[in-house]
Amino acid sequence: MSKVHVVTNVNGEPREMLCEPQQSLLEVLRDELGMTGTKEGCATGDCGACSVMLNGRLVCSCLTLGVEAEGADITTIEGIAEGSQLHPVQRKFLEHAALQCGICTPGFIVATKALLDRNPNPDETTIRYWLAGNLCRCTGYDKIIRAVQDAATELAHEA
């Protein structure tokens, strides 16, 4: 089967690639563009480790085809920090020890930023349900929730 030419925009940069029709966006990001910050935990949309933003929507990149990225705007974990400045969500994850092994962390950070972009002041229940599609096996979620709450507070003060 011949490859498909895809033109897309990743973290604000135009990218071109050839992808197999069956390749997921996750595989394209990792294997074709070398952007391995987005992780595979299940490849069935259950764990959220592969979370990216596609045209402003939070999606599992394992459930999206690479060819669907044609003409799209994609944000991955590599695009969350602004230059050499960590995003407040990244900083709060560090300060609260909200990661242990760190494999789920990129997905959580992308999902958290998506939440706070649309709801700057979520309560604990809202945060827990928004992040229910992101599995973490190390932390028990406590410190993640606190990091998100603290990031929301800081972003509210900045605004």
Binding site: T44, C101, G102, N134
Partner: protein, 753 residues
């Protein structure tokens, strides 16, 4: 002996040194490796739980363009020998047969062949073209059936205890501990409680699937990149399976995306090396989540019976435990540690413990966080809860009346040095979450947890750069913040700021031997090596200062990161800082290095007390955890946030096992829920905040009093949940998981009775 004292670095909560890479996506995990010319390997797995492999024909697969090689059991040396070092133990022979079946496939998902091809997609397509002729055999799927007379045999050569005399059996080994006279103890009891408890197979559930990349050069030297809890053990296990020497293999650990014991063993590495040998190209292998569930280490399902007798004042007079654990297809269930843990929180004169390591046609059990203890202590702590009800005693008071303490002769042998169980119980009793009465319609459960912790071998080197910054090199994969702990202990010892110390995990050829990150040993044992290597640095710095000042080294003190003349040494010099000495090292003898290697003794037993309030929905059977409190003795918390993280993460893993997690099998031994949708681990919306209280009873065998903290947290939550649900319902459900269907069925059965 270590005493509680004021520290400058220890006990603070700085950002971990590897943190920025992990929040930006730069950190490289197992599947992130890419090499030029790399090809991909995939594994063909048995569709039967028990089958004789009559033949394997790969000719159709090999005709597919882009398929480079196919291997099966015949490609590996037979007669691999030796024991596996490290936490789980076992033999190299069983390991070799587990990662590639020989004459029999012993569980659904057992590897029978592997393919290397240009792409992963092509390799997977090629698997369908490998023709395997199986003779399907009846599987044995649970511990009770496997122990019964006339059960199908998983291994026709297996005899109990490995002997040759008796008839073959699925019981691979029997463990026994006994003290005093249990029968007399029960006769002297006013109250006797006994129960039988079943805990299902559960998976460690690390989010990162197993992955490795391997190359073999023209001289036969292999390099392996992989995610593992112990790359030195990967090296020896891979060497054992392939019949190579460890000197022919270099293992480079990636970051590791969770392990919980499941990445102390290997599955892919020898296959990738063999495929690289046959193709002359680097081979990458990454498991799917389904493969992780079907073919990698779950922990044992178990059937435990516990009986406890006590006087009316609560004094326990006798206890017995009968513990049967599923090993999976090869010997090695964690029933030994299960036996050693079952009564560990208590001071008992009369007891008997029997454990059975039982083969079944399921994946070979691997270590899972405090291996074996959650199952047996679920039985014991449920029984203690029933005893408290019968006696009308507060469950904490009953435990305080019987708990182990310094000087107690532990059921598994040693006499305890200072331990924290009593302080944890007292802290629980005083905790506001406990003194607040439970709300109407809720249930409260409490239980104790325990893990031995281990020491084992570690090495560390500490180097000074010319500006006085400090590099720590050690060989324990950082699975949850251990680099930060190493930096804190180094900063404390040297008397320098945390932020000038960086810790690194070296590969098998760039640092000295370290056993696995397992057994809650890393902060204790590798930390001890780091502290000793820093002391080596201090001794050297004192030498260099003495040389500079033209005095004897024993006239120099090390204070707050500086060399100073000892009080009474009459010279007028300014103190020399670490940076001063490092900057001048070229003129005083050359670069400054410290090193240490050890086999750490005195790991220090770890105890916890947990409690929680729950509600049970009698219409649906759903259990909600309203609050959870974890109290644990950490010896000394080096980085308290990561200690709390271990307590919280272990609590939620235990709650998942108690509430939902189980391997569901059909009658043919096929796991029916091999994915995160159906094997449901806790998600954020299932859980409350996990309140923690760290107790510090310093471990006398560590300069800063460290006890391992990683494993104990998973132990108590199983019985906490059972006890809380029993309290809410007014009757006990003995078996786990307490999932909605099983709770509803138990409510219906109870209402009918």
């Amino acid at each position: 002996m270590a005493e509680a004292r004021d520290y400058r670095a220890i006990g603070t909560r700085p950002v971990r040194p590897d943190g920025v890479d992990k929040v930006t996506g730069r950190a490289n995990f197992g599947a992130d490796m890419t090499l030029p010319n790399m090809i991909h390997g995939k594994v063909l797995r048995s569709p039967h739980a028990h089958a004789r492999i009559k033949s394997i024909d790969a000719s159709r697969a090999l005709q597919l363009p882009g398929v480079y090689a196919v291997i099966s059991g015949a490609d590996f040396p037979s007669g691999a020998e030796g024991e596996i070092s490290g936490e789980g133990g076992g033999t190299v022979s069983d390991l070799a047969k587990n990662i590639m079946a020989r004459d029999k496939a012993l569980y659904h998902g057992h590897a029978v062949a592997a393919v290397a091809a240009k792409t992963a997609f092509l390799a997977e397509s090629a698997l369908e073209l490998i023709d395997v002729d199986y003779e399907v055999l009846p599987p044995v799927l649970d511990v009770d059936t496997a122990m019964a007379d006339g059960a199908p045999l998983v291994d026709e050569h297996q005899r109990t205890g490995g002997g040759q005399g008796d008839a073959p059996s699925n019981i691979a080994a029997i463990t026994k501990f006994e003290r005093g006279d249990p029968e007399a103890g029960f006769a002297a009891a006013d109250v006797v409680v006994e129960g039988a408890y079943r805990v299902p197979t559960a998976h460690q559930g690390y989010i990162e699937p197993h992955a490795c990349t391997a190359t073999l050069d023209e001289e036969g030297r292999a390099t392996v990149w992989c995610c593992t809890q112990g790359h030195f053990d990967v090296r020896s296990m891979t060497a054992g399976v392939l019949g190579k020497s460890v000197g022919e293999i270099k293992v480079i650990p990636s970051e590791i995306g969770g392990g919980f014991g499941g990445k102390t063993v290997i599955y892919l590495e020898p296959l990738a090396v063999k495929l690289s040998e046959l193709t002359g190209r680097p081979v990458k292998m990454v498991m799917s989540r389904e493969e992780v569930f079907r073919a990698t280490g779950p922990t044992s399902a178990s059937h435990c019976r516990v009986k406890v007798g006590a006087k009316r004042d609560g004094t326990i007079t006798a206890a017995t435990a009968w513990l049967a654990y599923e090993a999976g297809a090869f010997p090695g269930a964690p029933v030994g540690p299960g036996c050693m843990s079952v009564f560990a929180p208590y001071d008992l004169d009369n007891f008997r413990i029997e454990g059975f390591d039982v083969l079944v046609n399921k994946p070979k059990a691997a270590a899972y966080r405090a291996p074996g203890a959650p199952q047996s202590l679920h039985a014991m702590e449920s029984t203690i809860d029933e005893l408290a009800r019968k006696l009308g005693m507060d469950p904490i008071d009953l435990r305080l009346a019987n708990c182990a303490d310094e000087g107690t002769h532990a059921p598994y042998g040693p006499t305890f040095p200072p331990i924290g169980i009593k302080k944890c119980l007292e802290a629980a009793k005083a905790h506001p979450n406990y003194t607040t009465p439970k709300a109407e319609g809720t249930g409260r459960g409490i239980a104790a947890g325990f893990w031995f912790n281990i020491g084992m071998q570690s090495s560390a080197e500490v180097r000074l750069s010319e500006d006085g910054t400090v590099t720590v090199m050690e060989g324990s994969p950082d699975i949850g913040g251990s680099r930060a702990s190493m930096c804190l202990m180094a900063a404390e010892t040297l008397g320098v700021p945390y932020n000038i110390v960086r810790a690194h995990v070296g590969d098998t050829e760039s640092t000295g031997f370290c056993n696995v990150t397992g057994g809650s040993r890393t902060t204790f044992a590798t930390g001890l090596a780091v502290v000793q290597a820093c002391e080596d640095i201090i001794a050297e710095c004192k030498q260099r200062a003495a040389m500079t000042w033209d005095i004897d080294a024993d006239q120099v003190d090390w204070t707050d990161g500086e060399a100073v003349p000892k009080p009474g040494v009459n010279i007028d010099v300014a103190p020399l800082s670490l940076a001063d000495i490092a900057g001048n090292a070229g003129r005083t003898g050359g670069p400054i290095l410290g090193r240490a290697s050890l086999n750490a003794q005195g790991a220090g037993a770890s105890f916890s007390v947990n409690f929680a309030d729950v509600t049970v929905d009698r219409e649906t059977g759903k259990v909600d955890v309203l609050n959870f409190t974890a109290i644990q003795d950490a010896g000394t918390a080096i980085h308290p946030a990561y200690v709390e993280g271990q307590m919280q993460g272990g609590a939620v893993q235990g709650l998942g096992w108690a509430l939902n997690e189980e391997y569901v099998y059909d009658n043919n031994g096929v796991m029916e829920n091999a994915g995160f949708l159906d094997y449901r681990i806790p998600v954020a919306s299932d859980m409350p905040m996990i309140d923690t209280q760290i107790i510090e009873v310093p471990n006398p065998s560590h300069p800063y009093g460290v006890r391992g903290v990683g494993e104990t947290p998973i132990v108590a939550p199983l019985a906490v949940t059972s006890n809380a649900v029993s309290d809410a319902l007014g009757f006990r459900i003995s078996d786990l998981p307490l999932s909605p269907p099983s709770v509803l069925a138990a409510i219906d059965a109870h209402d009918e009775a």
